[in-house]
Amino acid sequence: MEIFSDGTWLPLAFAGLMALALLVYAVLDGYDIGVGLLMLRAKPEERDVMIASIGPFWDANETWLVLAIGLLLVAFPEANGFVLTSLYLPTAFMLFGLCLRGVSFDFRAKAKVNHKAFWDRVFSFGSFLMAFAQGYMLASYTIGFAHGLYAKLFDGAVGLCVAAAYGLIGASWLIMKTEGDLQKKAIHWAKFCLFGTTGAIVLVSVATPLVSPRVYERWLSEPTVYAMALLPIVVAVLIGLTFYILNRLPKAQDRGCWKPFALTVGIFLMCLIGLGYSFYPYIVPDRIKIVDGASAPESLMFILVGALIVLPFMIGYTFFAYKIFHGKTKELAYY
């Protein structure tokens, strides 16, 4: 294997790890941001259940964002500096949203009862700001930080798309974790968000090759075009299947309540593969290549060894935590 002998495998391994961290982040923090987006549509007592369903997890979920940005920082410091200075204001707004939603979550339970509705609104607003800013940043990154009205419109549209995708996974989470009226509402929300997500995927798939000649080239050159044509087909099947299942839920004994969530994870995975394929071999589209932008091998080795030792434990106790809070959400109590 050539890549093992010439030392390029380390940067590639880190790019892979980063993609994995981003996927896990989009799924895990995606569902709790999604719950935040949907919250104002629910009745006050239902909101308590929604919050309770994400309570034990949101903090660890958010840590995946720190890991993803940490990996970018560790392995590709130049790309990190370039991307974040280019996205200065969107980053500030995303962090603003992140702060608001993270704290309102805690304040709503501890502040005066008549302040609860206020903190619910802050939570929802913060969640939206965060989802929108992330979509905006993703779009801007994909089209190489292009300026101009159309570029900004595209960025904004993808911002809304990511909000729809998070809404979808949030609703799927609620279908799995709740029952009764709230679950029925969640099924309705999921259908609505699935329309949005489908539109989002079509928009990004059509617009990106038009904006970026390199992506056009990469996707439509033979012979890979036949292999990559599979990807949209798989996505279409996954979306169709999700619609089909959503229309038949809820079932007796709540069979299959986990299926929309699993299918949504599948859709997210396919989108990530599509994005990754478009970018490769660049870490910053058209500017910095993965192999050129990486840190020194001795530093990457130092962190990789630690990561390989720590990761099994991390995955282990994450599963442990999900097992403890497995099943339908009950009221959230400190004791």
């Binding site: 309570g55 034990p56 997890f57 903090d59 660890a60 958010e62 840590t63 720190v66 890991l67 940005i69 940490g70 920082l73 560790v74 392995a75 410091p77 130049e78 990190n80 500096g81 370039f82 974040l84 200075t85 996205l87 200065y88 204001l89 980053t91 500030a92 707004f93 962090l95 603003f96 992140l98 702060c99 608001l100 993270g102 704290v103 979550f105 805690d106 304040f107 501890k110 502040a111 005066k112 840190s295 020194a296 001795e298 530093s299 130092f302 962190i303 630690g306 990561a307 720590v310 990761l311 991390m314 106790y317 994450t318 935590a321 403890i324 809070f325 959230l332 109590a333 400190y334 004791y335």
Partner: protein
Amino acid sequence: MAFCGINQLVTILSQQKSDVSREKGPFVMLNLDPVVLARIQFATNISFHIIFPATTIALGWILFFFKRRFRKTENPLWMDAYFFWTKVFALCFALGVVSGITMPFQFGTNWPGFMNTFGNIAGPLLGYEVLTAFFLEATFLGIMLFGFRRVSPFVHDLATFLVATGTTISSFWILSLDSWMQTPVGFEMIAGKAHAVDWIAILFNPSMPYRMAHMLMASGLTASFLVAGLSAYRYLRGEKGEAVMAALKTGVFLAAVLIPLQVLMGDAHGINTLKYQPQKVAAMEGLWKTQKGAPLVLFAWPDDKARENLYTVEIPKLSSLILTHDLDGEVKGLNEFEGRHPPVAPVFWSFRFMVGLGGLMLLTSWAAAYELIRKKSLSPLVARALVPMAFSGWAATILGWYVTEIGRQPWIVSGVMTTAEAAAEHPPELIGISLGLYLLLYAFLFTAFITTLFYMARKGAAQQA
């Protein structure tokens, strides 16, 4: 109010200009340097952030102590104390996490030169913090907060223990990196980038053990004064039940034991700084000229332009005695480091206010400890004094960090790269917008935090009555 203070600060700081080109805009009228703005923004972020980890690192261990006392004595008062302080912990933890996530993003948005040059060293240390600490504390926090009725008592104890361990491990990595920026060793510069040569030397760099010990004790003091102060507030409102008394005693006794140790630790840290960063100590002491038998300047108005102190009140030879343990020892003055030393006034004042707060901490904690041991109760005077002291740890910690971080200037990594060299070239308006957003956000969050803290304390009282 706050904005007036910032304007003055800006005027002071902007005396050191950088050569970053400026574009036209409203901030040019105010003569604002983008590097100064970026520094104010970073200082704002980190000052707000440090309050919360400084509280949670030690509060986690106090919670573990409550938990262990309960398991040993089976007296439910310990669980009452545990549950009340768990809520405070959860609030501080959430604020610490969200304000902390801002920090790594700032490296990219505002200080790309730092990561471009030192990424090979800073990167792995930050990466290890995420891997070994953040996931551990975040995951077990969920079990600690909401799992009490879902897991066995042992697992719940373990979760509390692991959350406290996680916060402490996290402080190790970040203090190691900060200390390395103060006293960089174990690396070589190849083609303008730092490369690690000896990881052990990097992790345990010369100032690291001292800074780590000083900070962990600062956290102990911060948490114990918060516990003592808020308990004294409840005590004054007539809530003198066993749980409140237990928390009050824990806070007071811990503070009373830690404060003299912290004074000794601070002295050791100062002597270590004298060895590796003498210019910082000279700024702390306000010593403009190298001299034997240097006096201890109690009060003065350091004039950075004239390079001398005005209105000086000093004790002869005491500075030499403290720093060199010899009445006629030589102490290096700022004249040896002209152009390479920090702005004197902010370092000089932060240091004096920190030491002053330390004195107040000693006075109140010992007075309260004396009363609690002798009379088994608190006099209203001492109880009232403890309430505002709930925040003394935050103030002293922030001031201490101002001493060490402003004291490192003009360097971002001592002797290798200046702070101005690391800054991104943003137009000042852009940084102005984000800085304005952060100031508004933090003012809002801090108000909500303090209000909620006292609301929770009052609600506790109402439930008991």
